[in-house]
């Protein structure tokens, strides 16, 4: 179908191939360094651990396609986990409802500020992040006191395998991933997300209420963030202030490595999925290396930079 061709396009296919190549190379290197990595359960676990990053990247992809960015996503994730943790005694359903209401609330504030008030997304979400850190730091000794573990069901759902290497989180990712791909390539909102990121004035002149699109993008991003937060909480069994801290920068990096422009209007979730897998294998590789934390940091930074650079050169030429 011509639509699919429009979206995949020769440009994307070429770069997608290079992403695959990078992933496979990293995969093989990791397997060579740590033989255990090539076992089926280990691959299953690696995929599982990629899911929270993949969810964060989904939200980040949507935001970045509109030309925005959400740096409050870590505290949104943390907040959702805190809320589920504190509310779970009154039933999981209620707890989830509260958590997602919280996500929608923050997403709405971010979205309205960016969309209606014209706030710079970087500052808006950084500011929001600071506000949320403050709120939860106060909360941890007051209204959130005692929220430090996750309900068992969530722990199961974020860790349980069905048959190796297939696990519940992976199934969830497959479902959500397909939904995001559908949204971006086959829905009207998807078209508008690209349109707003590429040229918001053009979109408005074409009759699009740009702020509604941005609002939708930030709410979706928040929801994905919250979901990721629950999954991180479930996978670690513990909730803490810095729950998703270490995933914010990777969530941006995964999207960029996957070919979505930080200026918006071009890219897609397929690339972000590849970026997520690459970064996950990379951090596994670094975790297996018996080098100091210092060296690991340097390697991580260098590789992310090299990947982004290679990718931008690859796409520039074609």
């Amino acid at each position: 179908m011509s639509t699919i061709k429009t979206f995949v396009g020769t440009r994307l296919t070429k770069s997608m191939l290079s992403l695959w190549a990078i992933l496979i190379v990293l995969f093989v290197i990791t397997g060579l360094v740590d033989h255990y990595f090539f076992t089926v359960p280990s691959i299953g676990v690696t995929f599982q651990l990629a899911v929270p990053l993949g969810l964060l990247a989904a939200g980040q992809t949507i935001c970045m396609l509109t030309g925005g960015i959400d740096l409050s996503i870590a505290m949104i994730a943390t907040g959702a986990a805190f809320i589920v943790s504190i509310k779970s005694p009154s039933g999981l359903g209620m707890a989830l409802l509260y958590a997602f209401l919280f996500c929608v609330l923050i997403g709405t504030i971010n979205g309205l500020a960016v969309g209606l008030l014209g706030m710079n997304p970087l500052i808006m979400t950084l500011g929001m992040n600071a506000v949320l850190i403050g709120v939860f730091t106060v909360g941890i000794t007051t209204f959130l006191k005692g929220s430090s573990t996750m309900p068992d069901i969530i722990i199961k759902l974020s860790t349980a395998t069905i048959i190796d290497p297939l696990s519940w989180p992976l199934v969830l990712w497959l479902l959500i991933g397909s939904a995001v791909l559908f949204l971006l390539t086959k829905s009207g909102l998807g078209r508008l997300i690209y349109a707003v990121g590429d040229n918001a004035t053009a979109a408005r002149l074409a009759g699009v209420r740009v702020w509604k699109v941005q609002l939708a993008a930030y709410i979706l991003c928040s929801l994905f963030g919250g979901l990721a937060g629950l999954m991180i909480g479930g996978q670690s069994g513990a909730v803490s202030m810095s729950l998703a801290d270490s995933l914010v920068l990777p969530s941006v990096a995964a999207v960029v490595i996957g070919g979505t422009s930080i200026m918006g209007g071009i890219g897609g979730y397929t690339g972000s999925i590849m970026g997520t897998l690459i970064l996950t294998v990379l951090s596994y590789l670094l975790a297996t290396l018996n080098s100091s934390e210092a060296v690991k940091q340097m390697i991580y930074g260098s590789i992310v930079l090299a990947l982004a650079w290679t990718y931008s050169k690859l796409t520039e030429k074609s």
Partner: protein, 318 residues
């Protein structure tokens, strides 16, 4: 003519008024206010003020440096590691050498951004990992020191508040003023304002960007040296660099630097650091959980950018 200048200064005047208000509030809470207390203020704001100034230069040039905190931490660790137990002359020589390194690190960052054509945010996110890794490698655990004479020259001793004041103001006079007047200075505003026009006006965009990142790096370096003089120690922690980077962005933005580039100066960011310092201090002294200060700082940053944006947009309406 005067009214135009006044309009452009109104931001700084506002900042000064707020800082004065908060300052007198804080002073009124103290049992005594003398030169010791003045020095306490100055030491509290010195590193972050310098960092905000460095960030401001880069933002005015249309970029952003999310590795500026890491640059400062790196120089802090280098200085603390190699200056401990050194004579005054050697320490001065080393200071100059390390400042050169900070210039080099900045220039290299600018070079990578220019050559790779990757967004600044992404490049500097990646380099922040590399630089922190380097800092951890150089100074694996907190410690080290600095020649005391030099430290006192930079940060004063007991009630000597002049040295830190000079450390704060000297870079403004020696680096910023000449820069602002020079062709490079205009070029800096030019590339931040409109890269294409700047190019057509004969500005070498890449070279100017590299210079800006180098000068931004220099400010980060001075901030790192000041930190060493204040703490007589090097602290290789990523959390420190992240907080410092976020504060530097907040400082620059509160100081009237437009994130879109091309607008702003360095006096504003220096003064804004004062505000960022007073808010938590005042709250702490009232026995209010200082986490609230994070909420206030975040909200204030959002608010200021919002108002600034509205004012600027109104000015631009035909």
């Amino acid at each position: 003519m005067n009214s135009i200048k006044l309009k452009r200064q109104s931001w700084n005047i506002g900042i000064i008024l707020i800082a004065l208000f908060l300052g007198s509030w804080q002073v009124s809470r103290l049992p005594v206010f003398g030169s010791y207390e003045a020095r306490t203020f100055l030491l509290g704001i010195l590193p972050i003020a310098l960092l905000s100034m460095g960030q401001a230069i880069i933002i005015i040039g249309g970029g952003i440096n999310l590795a500026i905190g890491a640059e400062s931490v790196l120089i802090n660790c280098l200085a603390a590691r190699f200056m401990v137990d050194k004579s005054f002359t050697v320490a001065v020589a080393l200071t100059i050498f390390f400042l050169l390194i900070s210039v080099l690190v900045g220039a290299l960052t600018g070079l990578i951004i220019s050559k790779s054509k990757i967004a600044d945010i992404i490049v500097t996110l990646a380099t922040s990992f590399i630089l922190i890794g380097l800092a951890m490698y150089i100074q694996p655990s907190p410690g080290g020191g600095m020649n005391l004479t030099l430290a006192h020259l930079i940060s004063g001793k007991d009630s000597a508040f002049l040295p830190p004041l000079i450390t704060l103001i000297l870079p403004l006079i020696v680096i910023w003023l000449p820069l602002y007047r020079s062709r490079t200075g205009i070029a800096m505003f030019a590339i931040g304002s409109n890269k294409d026009s700047a190019f057509l006006s004969g500005v070498n965009v890449d070279r100017t960007r590299i210079k800006l990142y180098a000068i931004g790096g220099l400010f980060a370096g001075i901030s790192g040296i000041a930190l060493t003089a204040i703490t007589l120690s090097g602290s290789p922690f990523a959390s420190i660099s992240n907080t410092a980077t976020l504060n530097s962005v907040a400082g620059a933005v509160l100081g009237g630097v437009a994130l879109s580039g091309g607008v702003g100066g360095l006096t504003g960011p220096a003064l804004a650091a004062l505000i960022l310092y007073f808010i938590p201090t005042i709250l702490l002294n009232y026995g209010i959980d200082p986490a609230y200060s994070q909420i206030i700082t975040g909200a204030l940053t959002i608010f200021v950018v919002l108002v600034g944006g509205l004012i600027r947009n109104r000015g631009k309406k035909k």
